[in-house]
Symmetry: C2
Subunit: 191 residues, 2 copies
């Protein structure tokens, strides 16, 4: 079934009866997204919570200098959403684009509140997910400030060796906060 990756993920954090799962299903939409397609572009309101069943996305901004700055990646079994835009229904600064051909499952913002009302356990699920996401972003800030570019790269690529294979180097450089040239020089060095 198309929704299985999400249901499986939900079950790690909360338990839903069969009836409850059936109640959930009509609120879920499924979609295939081709590499380079956008599911959110800046200036538009983020209209859903996106769960990645399979694939990879990046969230980025256009900087004043005319470059693209990646602020987040998300892969299989992660959520990606601009909560600033979703919560307040205001235009997003960000773009969300598929890095690979992907499958997503999403909850539209119009039906989100209704769904939470019917299945309060989802509040709990998202609370837990968000605790982790928030903690991770605090850790990331800490690494940004305390490590050099090279240290950050080495730490990240030993922590996620499979992931670094999956995205082009210039995206990795952007996510880690330096230039593609600099990444190339690090890799050119010993080892």
């Amino acid at each position: 079934m198309k929704h299985d990756p999400l249901l499986k993920h939900l079950r790690k954090y909360i338990s839903l009866s069969l009836g409850e799962e059936n109640l959930l299903l009509p609120y879920l939409q499924v979609q295939s997204v081709k590499k380079k397609e956008h599911i959110l572009t800046e200036g538009n309101v983020c209209s859903a919570n996106y769960f990645i069943a399979k694939g990879c996305f990046r969230m980025y901004v256009h900087t004043d200098q005319g470059t693209e700055q990646i602020v987040q990646f998300a892969i299989d079994n992660w959520w990606i959403t601009d909560y600033n835009s979703l919560d307040f229904q205001k235009p997003s600064l960000f773009n969300i684009q598929a890095v690979e051909d992907s499958e997503i499952i999403f909850i539209k913002s119009e039906t989100r509140e209704e769904l939470f009302a019917k299945l309060p356990q989802l509040e709990r699920y998202f609370r837990i997910i968000l605790q982790r996401a928030f903690a991770a972003s605090i850790m990331r800030i800490q690494y940004i400030f305390n490590q050099s570019g090279e240290e950050r790269y080495r730490h990240f690529s030993t922590s996620f060796p499979d992931f670094v294979q999956r995205v082009p180097q210039y995206m990795l450089a952007s996510y880690l906060g330096f230039t593609p040239e600099f990444l190339s020089k690090i890799r050119g060095k010993k080892e």
Copy 2:
């Protein structure tokens, strides 16, 4: 009443009956914290969700270079917690210290689950709070990468003019990711 600041904050996001509020009260602990006192020190498990009724705290790490790096500030009506430590009950990397004499209200981790079970609306409250916190930290990462130190300082101090008065400059410099000397030079410049 000692708990009022928290109740008032809760009411902005969820509505609780009088009965529900009374159910909540026994789970809340209140404490005064003197300037420079710690409510969490690295190596220990973060044992509560802390709400700041009044005052100011900083969360920081000791870096490899022997300096202190501030990763978060929190003032009146904000929560501060190391969720990595709280969730997994493992030792924290971080320290949380009062920057001013403060009043806090907290929920101990031992009773947190029990409280959520009794008042599921709190799951919703924290979900919303965490969405905002997560969105804010993504915005912060974006600023770190796209703006120079000077731009970051000017942006931050025009956004929070009252706050920059409240903390010593070396803490502000640490939070913004540069040295106190550099901040001093920025301020020494025109205007």
